[in-house]
Symmetry: D2
Subunit: 341 residues, 4 copies
Amino acid sequence: MVKIFTVGVIGAGRIGKIHIENLVRKIPNINLKIVADIKFNDELKQWAGEIGIPKLTSDASEIINDPKIDIIVICSSTDTHAKFIQDSAKANKHIFCEKPIDTDIKRIKETLAVVREEGVKLMLGYNRRFDRNFMRCHEVIVSGQIGEPQIVKITSRDPAPPAIDYIKGSGGIFFDMTIHDWDMARFQVGSDVEEVYATGGVLIDPEIGKAGDIDTAVAVLKFKNGAMGIIDNTRQAVYGYDQRVEVFGSKGCVIADNEATNTVRTYTAECTNIDKIPYFFMERYLDSYSNELEYFFECLRENKEPRPNGEDGMQNVLVALTAQKALEENRPVKISELSNT
Amino acid sequence: MVKIFTVGVIGAGRIGKIHIENLVRKIPNINLKIVADIKFNDELKQWAGEIGIPKLTSDASEIINDPKIDIIVICSSTDTHAKFIQDSAKANKHIFCEKPIDTDIKRIKETLAVVREEGVKLMLGYNRRFDRNFMRCHEVIVSGQIGEPQIVKITSRDPAPPAIDYIKGSGGIFFDMTIHDWDMARFQVGSDVEEVYATGGVLIDPEIGKAGDIDTAVAVLKFKNGAMGIIDNTRQAVYGYDQRVEVFGSKGCVIADNEATNTVRTYTAECTNIDKIPYFFMERYLDSYSNELEYFFECLRENKEPRPNGEDGMQNVLVALTAQKALEENRPVKISELSNT
Amino acid sequence: MVKIFTVGVIGAGRIGKIHIENLVRKIPNINLKIVADIKFNDELKQWAGEIGIPKLTSDASEIINDPKIDIIVICSSTDTHAKFIQDSAKANKHIFCEKPIDTDIKRIKETLAVVREEGVKLMLGYNRRFDRNFMRCHEVIVSGQIGEPQIVKITSRDPAPPAIDYIKGSGGIFFDMTIHDWDMARFQVGSDVEEVYATGGVLIDPEIGKAGDIDTAVAVLKFKNGAMGIIDNTRQAVYGYDQRVEVFGSKGCVIADNEATNTVRTYTAECTNIDKIPYFFMERYLDSYSNELEYFFECLRENKEPRPNGEDGMQNVLVALTAQKALEENRPVKISELSNT
Amino acid sequence: MVKIFTVGVIGAGRIGKIHIENLVRKIPNINLKIVADIKFNDELKQWAGEIGIPKLTSDASEIINDPKIDIIVICSSTDTHAKFIQDSAKANKHIFCEKPIDTDIKRIKETLAVVREEGVKLMLGYNRRFDRNFMRCHEVIVSGQIGEPQIVKITSRDPAPPAIDYIKGSGGIFFDMTIHDWDMARFQVGSDVEEVYATGGVLIDPEIGKAGDIDTAVAVLKFKNGAMGIIDNTRQAVYGYDQRVEVFGSKGCVIADNEATNTVRTYTAECTNIDKIPYFFMERYLDSYSNELEYFFECLRENKEPRPNGEDGMQNVLVALTAQKALEENRPVKISELSNT
């Protein structure tokens, strides 16, 4: 008989709601028992009723302390991740946590030590690994068709910048946007990063510069296996959410292009048109969120280590910190300069 | 306040299950109260339990006679459609019915008369109209971008033939496969068919020929507005489910190509590859089933006449009958030769 | 040592000039000795001087009677083809002749008999066979990759109708436009046509109708090997010269799409654009003219029978005549109805 | 009346032969009078005869001193460019010279001073600017459709490494391969480079490393106008000559993809194939060579300053030298560190 997992979710903000809807509607053989959110307001209660969530609480410890709960999905704010991961691990729950674990390397290490000690599984929500195109790209590489990866190129551009207040609290572009790309580069190349050079500028909105951030960034990675990586980011691609990956190898090259909104081409006397690419992550990556949860539960059922795991999460943060230093000092910086602290 | 429709479903076979899952998981503001299926076996009961269907019955009249039911979704076998439509209409329910209404023109006319008399809404499940690509194609045409449609070309090829027993009961390729294409052609051109020429042969499997059918077909349509149509069908495209539409007009041309499985291209020393097209209708048209239901309920809410309606259904059957005659007599046949009977 | 062929050209109109420039600039190891054209005016003389043609004459017999001439390229008006082919053959020259040989089947048969008797080689200028895309399509088919051809689909649309006077003398759309498509269909399928159904209308310009022709046509072919063909033509595709071929077979499908003007895609906030397809045959098929001449001389050097040969030419005319009858009588017509006369 | 230019060519090696054939066959209204090549052997004499070159010499000064010569095309070895440019300029000839002028900045400046003083026109053979795709890309940018360029990305990969001996004399990858990309980046962005970071490795062939060069390179550019550039090079892309350009701007993005060998797609049960991209520069860039000469003569006729000119050539060499320094010192280096010497 199939084991039915009992699940609790901490955090029902934007991303929490996506996970909760997927748990309710798309993930078979689980029982979503309870959701915690500090807001706990009427709007949330109504939404929970419509979705069919059995119980709502404002107190996360109710979930952590519930002996019936097998699995905790953490979607609360970043500053609470490390604490909730540790608490959940100590309560012997398996954990799916939104990225990042933390922005402080020491705190991450300490958190991962607890996870390791308690022997629970931890997976992080780098959902883009579960986009059908990037998964397929990865499969092609793992199959050996393109030989040894030598150059990975990632194009990752948002359609419009967020509010300046959001920028201020975002930790900077390398933590907020590029964090996905560090992970993608490592995922596709199959190696960790050794050195980072990063540069950029304020080409979109001077207010972003005043907030101490940049809005356009270029980074070059050197991987431990000798491969190189190139990433470009911008806060504003007016034509939509431009998300592409290319991996060049000794025996070939694999390119994952943008998703099409549809396959229609229109030919007129003036021009030939195709429809615009998907506008933003909800249009592009919606399926990846249910894919990652499916994979997570599959790992639990088959007792496999899920990836991206805590170590992946730490490596991504290390690269982000290194990129920040590279930008500030305008020089290539080795990961070891930061990881050995 | 949003009106909550109470819905009953008659028939829980393959297509019925798709509609039921969509009603439960994707259509907001409805209440699926009851499902009828003559099989009513343990397997069905278990499935119903997992999906969360409140009540299961083997008796369709329980649904038709339930005064709380607003809407009936008919997914039973084709020979029961006309009866259930008439019964539902007389019970003052709105109806979503799988195609076709019937294969007999008289019986269709009689059924549509009842629907008209009772003043209920009837929509038919020609789901391909709700494929994102063909919808977009239609939008482009309606917008006037390509001017007056002059030539419509439909490529519609199955990946593999069904069992011979299925073929024998299918009514022939023009009823079983091309029926969707007759509808698509009329949908895109925006006009009814006036004359049909059809030809074909047995190129895939001689057993299909022995069963009295063909497995490869080509049809030419003339529309009332002067446009022409070309359709080609085959029971076996070994590379997958080939589903394309092209409409050429006085000011341009619009082409809806196959869906891609993903956007990945792989370049090696030997060749450049893209992944295969979707295998069959479940891979290609899954979203179209929820799209059509969403649209149906939207029409009910906004008191709009849904399309394809009963008249569309009758026209499609008329074209199929005419094509059959054209094939048998190897000559172009006017729709009026059959519609006036 | 390489044999240097001595060549004469009869006819220096539009197509003649293309062949002459190719002979001078692109075909190695030949000597273009003389060009005949009945116009023989100053404009022609100046052009000949610029290109570097050694001798110009108004009298074709000067070429036919020159014992030094090995090969004659005939680009004069259609009504002179049969005579010049026969005269050239009797003078023991190999012949490259523009299509068609004639529009009268008897006269074609008589001409081919002379060619056969004299043992010279005759190739016809169905240049589209030498378009890189359609050549490649043919190669794929011949290689067996798509198995037995079952359905061929040809899209062949001009950008704008010619002058009405041209239409009047064109022999009708099936001789003037579709003649290329009859040849392409036979070339790709590798079989001759057995039956034709053709229909069409006047959707572009009523003047074309008044001139006794149609401007939009659809034809269905049945081949001797059981395959079927679909062709659609229009005199006016406002978006450019739409030239595509698709062949579906028992093991796959091959599609030769339009040539791109360039590979540039432009993404803006409003739309995604690619550049228009080539405007007309000079933009699309220019290379095919030098390709066909190269192939012709290669056949002569290696003593191979060039294709398309006289028999191909006759078959194409037969299909055109049959299509015309099918259109007039609105019924499928067998080739044998005309070929046996 | 059209002015007929009298042209002499110095150097008839691989690239010289391409230019000479274009001058003879494709460029109207010029008179190629004489070609100089130090080899002056039988093979060359035979080739010259076949092409129809009126006169061959081993002595370049015969061309430079000929008062009838208007224009000199220099295709000799790089070390002779500066001398021949200066001599030609002093003899009052306009000059088309293969890239680069020299590898020494001082010698370039000195040469350009002579050109300026003598008031002759100098164009350099950066032929890729005249590829139809990159020209169109440039047009789109200049038209303002994508707004201000912010990021330029160039993919530039050779199909196979040259002989080690060639590598040894090549001046390194940044002079031999990337030199085209520095020019392309400047051409598309419309601004000069301010800072370069470059890195790379030996991933293809250790012999290249032993020869003191790298075979895989990544460079990041900062332009004076604030834009950024990314270039990646490899000596071996086993799938062919990968040549792509992308420019992202404030109002959109323009992508020039690889040329297709043909437009054929083949669908089989196993996979979907397109043909490989062109193998190398002769397949990809052949037209660009005649395009650049056409443009050059057009500039002379219309008395326009041709581009890329001497200043472009110097800037490209400066970027190459700066990249070399950046690679050696593993840090971003400002152009001014080298240009001010």
